[in-house]
């Protein structure tokens, strides 16, 4: 009797937990299944998210349209490509860089945009239309523009750097950060060595890879967005990174400064596109149009601190970053810049292979090999000794007669 009562009690308790949870989870599902959501894939720290008094752009979109935004981040264009290509997730809006968009168009992975759903496209400045990766403006809408610069901590670096070579300076060993993606990392070496970042000559890539291997012992860490904490706290002194992010870092640590090295640097445009696997194209276009609303574009531009391709932002008298020399440099500074282009398949594979070699290579001394051999010898010896001992003990038990 007691047991039955206890059992029913346990069951009712479980049920009272389980059923609401199942309902909750079904709700969580309903929110995300069906036409009421879009999956947005963007760089990290690249949208106003409500911190530091900014608007939360995604929440504002949901509030105005009722469409939920599942916002996730990628650390590099290559990461985005791998996730997109796997087909595991159906993204509705992605915001990659120029050369990656060229690659996606070439591989037929992007949909043409229906610009009748994106009337705010008229705000885009002419200089950011018809760029090489989307010459007829069919697949992409520019989101932000930037250049890669050399960020340094004025308190930790004695001189004023003007060349990428300072990233190879032994004086700053273990205080140097480097890009954790192949394209950007190789570009630094390629600029330093005076070659094009879009070269298809394997020997050029070999030389660049050698330069990076030279640098590896001096590098503190290969980072992407982990750079914020490291530069702001003064953990590292030198790093190449994107100019807009530098401005956000500088707000938290005024000791930081940026310079565009004389050898030249990468200029890029990040644009919004819709993959062919998108589940909700209408909503995706609504989202892109929303990001081009003047007050949203302004809020975004103020928060991410990148150069904006948006007419109403740049001409807005309240735009605090108008004319900022870092993100809107004078024409001379832009003279030595190069866009990344999509590379042919063999070059890409070669680059990936070289990058793998760089990442896995390094500090393996002979001592590790010796150590492992010693361990194997010890283990085998222990095993052999034990077997011999066991045999001896068994012989002892069995006695000279040997019967058991």
């Amino acid at each position: 009797m007691k047991r039955r009562f206890a059992c029913t009690l346990v069951f009712t308790l479980l049920a009272s937990f389980v059923i609401p949870l199942l309902v909750l989870s079904a709700e969580a599902q309903d929110e995300t299944v069906g036409s009421g959501y879009i999956n947005v894939f963007n760089w990290g720290e690249y949208i106003a998210d409500g911190s530091d008094g900014s608007i939360n752009v995604n929440e504002e979109f949901t509030r105005r349209t009722g469409i939920k935004v599942n916002y996730s981040n990628f650390a590099s264009n290559e990461d985005m490509y791998a996730k997109l290509k796997s087909g595991g997730v159906a993204y509705d809006v992605i915001i990659p860089s120029d050369y990656m968009i060229a690659r996606l168009i070439e591989e037929g992975l992007l949909q043409k945009l229906d610009f009748s759903n994106i009337p705010n496209y008229s705000y885009i400045l002419d200089e950011y239309k018809n760029i090489y990766f989307d010459p007829n403006n069919e697949y992409s809408v520019p989101y932000a523009v930037g250049m890669v610069g050399l960020i340094y901590n004025t308190k930790m670096v004695d001189e004023t750097p003007d060349s990428w070579s300072i990233l190879w300076d032994e004086k700053y060993a273990n205080k140097i950060l480097m890009f954790n993606n192949p394209r950007d990392a190789f570009a630094i070496a390629q600029f330093l060595l005076g070659m094009s970042v879009n070269t298809t000559n394997p020997e050029d890539w070999d030389r660049a890879a050698e330069k990076l291997k030279e640098q590896k012992p001096l590098v503190q860490s290969y980072v992407m967005d982990e750079i914020y904490n490291k530069m702001e706290s003064g953990e590292a002194a030198l790093a190449p990174y994107y100019a807009g992010d530098f401005l956000s870092m500088q707000q938290n640590n005024p000791d930081l400064a940026l310079v565009y090295p004389k050898e030249g640097t990468n200029i890029f445009v990040d644009s919004m596109c819709i993959p062919v696997t998108a589940q909700n194209k209408k909503a995706a276009e609504m989202y892109i149009n929303f990001l081009l609303e003047p007050e949203i574009a302004l809020a975004n531009a103020e928060y991410i601190c990148y150069a904006s391709p948006h007419k109403a932002v740049v001409e807005n008298p309240e735009y605090s970053l108008a004319g900022n020399e870092v993100i809107y440099p004078p024409e001379e500074a832009k003279a030595n810049t190069e866009y990344f282009h999509n590379l042919p398949k063999e070059t890409l594979e070669y680059m990936t292979q070289k990058w793998n070699e760089l990442k896995i290579g390094g500090s393996n001394n002979i001592s590790i090999y010796i150590g492992l051999v010693v361990v194997v010898v010890v283990v085998v010896a222990a095993f052999v000794i034990r077997t011999i001992r066991k045999k001896r003990q068994n012989a002892y038990i069995d006695g000279p007669a040997g019967d058991k």
């Binding site: 389980v18 989870s25 969580a28 599902q29 990290g44 720290e45 595991g88 159906a90 967005d225 982990e226």
Partner: protein
Amino acid sequence: MKTMIRIYTVLVYVFLYLPIAVMILFSFNSINSTGVFGGFSLRWYRELFRDSETLNALKNSIIMAVLSSLIATVVGTAAAVGIDKMRSRWLKSVTLTVTNIPMVNPEIVTGVSMMLLFVFASRLVRISGVLGFWTLLIAHVTFNLPYVILSVLPKLRQIDPHLQEAAQDLGCPPLKSFFLAVFPTIVPGVLTGAIMAFTLSLDDFVISYFTNGPEFQTLPIRIFSMTKKRVTPDIYSLSTMLFAAILLLLIIINVLQAQSEKQQSKKKYY
């Protein structure tokens, strides 16, 4: 010698708790730094409650943990019963080997292999966007099942096999005889398995990393993406509160166990 071991053990405990102490300390940091302590402030606890994404991830983690441990417990207990009653020795040993695989395999291989399966299947059926709530649930149940089975199986082996037979001889239908004769004895094993499954699911990172989708982020995934960007001490506030909750729970369990043991020792004298 004994005092040396004691001092040494204390040092080991200090070592184990060092990062936790740092976490708790910096959760009360007044400045936005995880390296320098500025002063005492509750600022990050307030920030945490405004961070809807993290709170959402926490809710998702709990839902996933409860669901997957429930499913794993039911299927796993049934499986343990079935395995115990298996006649074919070959089938039994094969099943037990397969059960051991998720436990022995490194997590990254389990995660990667499940992702490959899901991607491959989705390509066959030409759906995209398969990774999400359901793939995550499947993955969690899969790595929970062995722990449930291996918690229940030993308890089953302790049971007198004739007990259930006797109940049936007395007119009990088979299912009822199971619940009345067998189940009460294995309940500790079932509960242990369920709790293990819950814990594993709550804290799982590697397997979830490969099998999840953007709509259903769990807490470890959320923390991982936070550590890939600018880290603010509000993560520490979250973990401090989780720590306090778990500490409280463990203290309660400990007190309850001590009490029940006292009662049991008292009973012996009657």
